[in-house]
Amino acid sequence: MSAAVTYIHEQLTAKKQHPKFKAGDNVTVNYKIIEGGKERIQGFRGDVLKIQGTGATSTFTVRKISDGVGVERVFPFLSPNVDSILLNKVGKVRRAKLFYLRERSGKSARIKEKRM
């Protein structure tokens, strides 16, 4: 990354302390929703499918099953709308990108928990 990109993100982007996690972990993302003039916080709990990108533009994808339907959301790490991230479970996986979970459902879509 060039010096100019680093410089403008030092000036503009607020650094946030989030727990370290990787693909396969179960996280809850508390993000802000602005409805009308009001602001509230909603949680999105699911498994991390992938972590993508570097620096200030990096994102992560969280997948959950909601009413039997798979739902995925992409969050930028440094978005001001991401209030906090909670690490619920550390998963034991052998890949960095877990796209194979999209074809699976039920028992086979489970991720083994890593004993810490």
Binding site: A4, V5, H9
Partner: protein
């Protein structure tokens, strides 16, 4: 390019342009040159890479030899030789045009170069036709191919002006200017910003 967050939390893509400091190296006036213009120079280069004429020309403005020199007609006539112009002439929220040279793409076919859709289908006995240009004209009449017929060839390296880009942010201490979206050219290429 990178992206920043607006105050309401939306992610927006921006390009960082280092716009200055540009040194005024010559002021042309109607009396002496027949037209009025301001010559601006940007980017230092070593004296050993410059010829004597360049060194002398830039020493008149008491500055090091520069890589890029550009003349702006009927522009900022109150500036004198040796003064610098930076990003402070732009304001946040203003619309600017950016001129640059696009990335070279080499020899490209008509599908990429002119947006043709190719000929025929993928199956039903066809092959090698999916990126073909099709007919390029009649046979015995006119017995030639018309000038300007769109065909494959060199693509890119064109001078392109993008109009109406928004100035998102300005950093006067580093002379950085952030414009919305992308600008023509590769990383590190030189562009012209017009108000």
């Amino acid at each position: 390019m990178t992206s920043i967050f607006t105050p309401d939390g939306k992610q927006t893509s921006v390009t960082i342009i280092e716009a200055g400091p540009c040194v005024v190296t010559q002021v042309k006036t109607k009396e002496t040159d027949g037209y009025s213009a301001l010559q601006l120079a940007f980017g230092d280069k070593k004296e050993k890479h410059s010829v004597k004429a360049e060194i002398n020309h830039f020493s008149k403005a008491s500055t090091a030899p520069k890589k890029f020199v550009k003349e702006f007609r009927d522009y900022f006539q109150d500036k004198t030789i040796g003064e610098t112009i930076g990003v402070e002439i732009f304001a946040e929220g203003e619309k600017v045009d950016v001129v640059g040279t696009t990335k070279g793409k080499g020899f490209q076919g008509v599908v990429k170069r002119h947006g043709f859709s190719g000929v025929g289908e993928a199956s039903h006995g066809q092959h090698d036709r999916s990126r073909a240009p099709g007919s390029i004209g009649g046979s015995s009449y006119p017995a030639r191919v018309f000038k300007g017929m769109r065909m494959g060839g060199r693509m890119g390296c064109d001078r392109v002006k993008l109009q109406g880009l928004k100035v998102v942010k300005i950093f006067p201490e580093k002379n950085y200017i952030l414009v919305s979206g992308s600008v023509p050219g590769h990383i590190g290429s030189i562009v012209l910003i017009q108000k």
